[in-house]
Amino acid sequence: MSATLPTVSTPAEAPPEPRPRMFSATGIAGLALLSFLGALAVLGPILVPWTAADRDFEAFLQPPSANHPFGTTASGGDILVLTLLGLRRSLLIGLVVAVAATTIAALVGAFAGYFLGWVDRTLMWVTDLLLVIPAFLVVAVVSSGQDDWIALVVLLTAFMWMVTAKAVRGSTIVMRDREYVKAARFMGVPSHRIVLRHVVPNLASLLVADATVNVGAAILAETSLSYFGFGVVPPEVSLGSLIADGAPTALYAPWTFWWATGLLIALIVAVNLVGDDLRDRFDPALRASR
């Protein structure tokens, strides 16, 4: 068949301008801060002359000095290196938990919302069950006496995907009636491929924004757990465990508390700024369905 369509005029309308997808000023600030903290977490511990295991027996609970820029702990540990390692661990926990939780949320929500029926009922029952169980309690029970931070990551993930999954399900139910999904169905595209190729990619903005917010949420959850001794335990350190260790001496040795606290707050502010910026780019329809 040849392309013999002389009567077809070239389209008269001008195509719309491509929409720029730039970050806002606050988004750029968040991104810059986040990159800085990331670099600090990766490179910092290598550059500092002390290690986590080192004890300076000439400096117990000393304020910042040339030798120990962030001061020392009661047992003579260098707070600079501890804080940087804590930052590294907290960042890692936050990132891994957020990515894993969002992935589970996307799959559970999209399959439940697309297939509906018994698939939906089963998946949503499990989601409700996990929502109803107090996450803090289960994580604390299981991780008390555990010293493996990977187990902590798995547990945090297990209790962090449900709310997003419900949002994804809601959006999928709306999207299932979108014409491009119908078009794919009427074309004969298998259902699982429609979910993976059409539904999930079109929820990307929601998912990315949610993943970012979950980074902060995971770090904060770890902090609370560590405060009670259920989170990261020695010899490992996280910002949460450092804050917990420093809280009792905060009044008379502020450097044991405020460095870790400050970095934690900076980290979460940065992550939330980026997340909020991404969320602002939402399709309004997606936001309305949340």
Partner: protein, 559 residues
């Protein structure tokens, strides 16, 4: 009454209106007509002082001699709703969902008149009565979503005239509505205007609305005025090409009548699809033959979309039978169903919704090919067939215009060389000039490839121009079916006649359980003596054969 001189509105650096001047006198109706983006809605908002803060305005707007562009917010608040009022488009969104309709109208009254609550409530009921809402006492206590589209639009008109404004603006007051309801709304609007003696500024993209209701017309394009004059002058002797296109789209030429082809490609028999509480499709039969175009018309809620979705699902219907190219859909295995899908494809109304925004044009057109194990090498050829350069394959749909997107959707639909194309309002989301291009493309494809079209549209002149046969749906059934020429020139069903004449029909009658479902709105039934009436009440009229009207009393039917 209202004098607009050299009005320009821009959003940032984008001009929306440029140097617009017009005036409307008391009791006069000015039609402001143009496509989307022509600046007509921005004009309405500028007059009302409701433009967003990002907009900048120059020029002058004088209401009864008072300059509005420099008036303060306080003064504008006092004028809005009292001296000037507006009826917005999309009446579902125009009422606050959590308050009763009557209360919202009473609120408008109490914003400008010091009257007790009770008096305002009573006045609201009278206003609902004025715009022809049945049982206004009861209806004033309803919430907006409990109203039909036409009722909401009428209630909006009631609210707008509550304080007898000097200027009434109607911004696309009939766009979302069906032909017969549109006519009714325009009648109500004219009545309300006559009652209050207001100047009426009627904003629309639809020339027939202007022709029916306006005294003078002002044609806008791209923020500029292209033509102005009395309605008769402009309709009879349009000077600008743009206006000529608009008028041409309203006129209908018949297709030459031809003998029906023999081969049936799609057959629907007694199809039923009931949703809980709604008999969406309630016994529909028709057939579509090879190379034929069947136009399907009917108001929203008549079951057209449900019917199409039932056909496209290729599954066992609730009741009845669907046969595609000789294969009964109830008997299809999974594999057969996939095979039949190649022969039956669909083009949706809104191309911005029917193309996956995350995929490139190339990937979109290739998807059906890949799904059915064919080579995507044909994509450039397919794009060429719909008049798009091959380079467009790398673009995303957002970077295409509406008409170009619809071309992509058509390319995807013909990729598998189907026998039947289902076209669900394929041009109604497009502006009139683009509409003509896409219709031309569809006509060419049909001629070249011998396609059969099931073409759903509410644009009657368009259907008349392109369809061989026409089916008119009403509340889940076919009211009339037959050759296009016959249906358009000698309609057998009173509903078809109402559609063709754009007679005013109300849209707030209750559904009917037995007998003829058109009865409550039927002008013929209203005039019948008691004896022949009883048949309409007890017996559902049927169509026998492949043409006819479902009416006990139409001329061709024995009494």
């Amino acid at each position: 009454m209202i004098d607009v001189t050299d009005l320009s509105v821009s959003f940032g650096t984008t001009p929306a209106v440029q140097g617009l001047s017009f005036s409307v006198a008391r009791g006069e109706v000015l039609g402001l007509i143009g496509e989307s983006g022509s600046g007509k809605s921005a004009t309405a908002l500028a007059v009302m002082g409701l433009l967003p803060p990002t907009a900048s305005t120059t020029g002058s707007i004088r209401l009864d001699g008072e300059e509005l562009t420099t008036a303060g917010e306080k003064r504008l608040t006092a004028l809005r709703g009292r001296a000037m009022a507006i009826v917005f488009q999309d009446p579902l969104q125009a009422f606050t969902p959590v308050h009763r309709v009557g209360a919202q109208i009473a609120e408008a009254i109490r914003a400008h008149q010091r009257v007790p609550r009770k008096v305002a409530a009573r006045r609201a009921v009278e206003l609902l009565d004025l715009v022809g809402i049945r049982d206004p006492h009861q209806r004033a206590r309803s919430y907006p979503h409990e109203f039909s589209g036409g009722m909401r639009q009428r209630a909006l008109i009631a609210m707008a005239v509550a304080n007898r404004p000097d200027l009434l603006i109607a911004d696309e007051p009939t766009t979302a509505l069906d032909v017969t309801v549109q006519a009714h709304i325009l009648d109500v609007l004219k009545t309300a205007q006559r009652e209050t003696g207001a100047a009426l500024l009627l904003i629309t993209h639809d020339l027939s609305v202007v022709a029916r209701a306006a005294d003078r017309v002002h044609v806008l394009r791209g923020g500029l005025t292209v033509e102005t004059g009395t309605v008769e002058e402009v309709l009879r002797a349009p000077r600008e090409t743009y206006t000529k296109t608009l008028i041409a789209a309203m006129e209908a030429g018949d297709r030459p009548a031809a003998a029906r082809p023999v081969r049936t490609v799609l057959e629907v028999r007694d199809l039923v699809r009931h949703h809980p509480g709604v008999r969406a499709v309630d016994g529909v039969s028709f057939d579509l033959r090879s190379g034929e175009t069947l136009g399907l018309v009917g108001e929203s809620g008549s079951g057209k979309t449900t019917l199409l979705m039932e056909i496209m699902a290729l599954a066992r219907p609730q009741r009845g039978r669907i046969t595609v190219l000789g294969r009964d859909t109830a008997q299809l295995s999974r594999r057969d169903r996939r095979r039949v899908r190649r022969d039956l494809q669909i083009v949706f109304q809104d191309p911005s919704a029917s193309l996956d925004p995350r995929m490139t044009v190339g990937a979109i057109v290739a998807e059906p090919l890949l799904t059915h194990g064919r080579s995507p090498g044909r994509v450039p050829e397919l794009l060429a067939q719909v008049g798009l350069p091959a380079a467009y394959a790398a673009r995303h749909p957002v970077h295409l215009s509406g008409g170009q997107r619809q071309r992509v959707a058509i390319a995807r639909a013909i990729a598998l060389d189907p026998a039947v194309l289902v076209l669900d309002e394929p041009v109604s989301a497009l502006d009139p000039t683009i509409r003509a291009e896409i219709v031309g493309l569809l006509e060419n494809l049909r001629a070249e490839r011998g396609l059969s079209y099931l073409f759903v549209a509410h644009d009657l002149p368009l259907i008349r121009r392109i369809a061989d046969r026409v089916a008119v749906m009403y509340r889940g059934r076919i009211a009339e079916i037959g050759p296009a020429h016959q249906v358009f020139t000698a309609p057998g069903h009173p509903y078809t006649r109402a559609l063709l004449r754009a007679s005013a029909l109300r849209d707030d009658d209750p559904p009917i359980a037995t007998g003829c479902r058109f009865r409550p709105r039927c002008p013929l039934y209203a005039e019948l003596p008691a004896a022949p009436r009883s048949r309409c009440v007890t017996e559902e009229p049927e169509i026998s054969g492949d043409s006819g009207a479902a009416c006990h009393h139409h001329p061709g039917e024995a009494p």
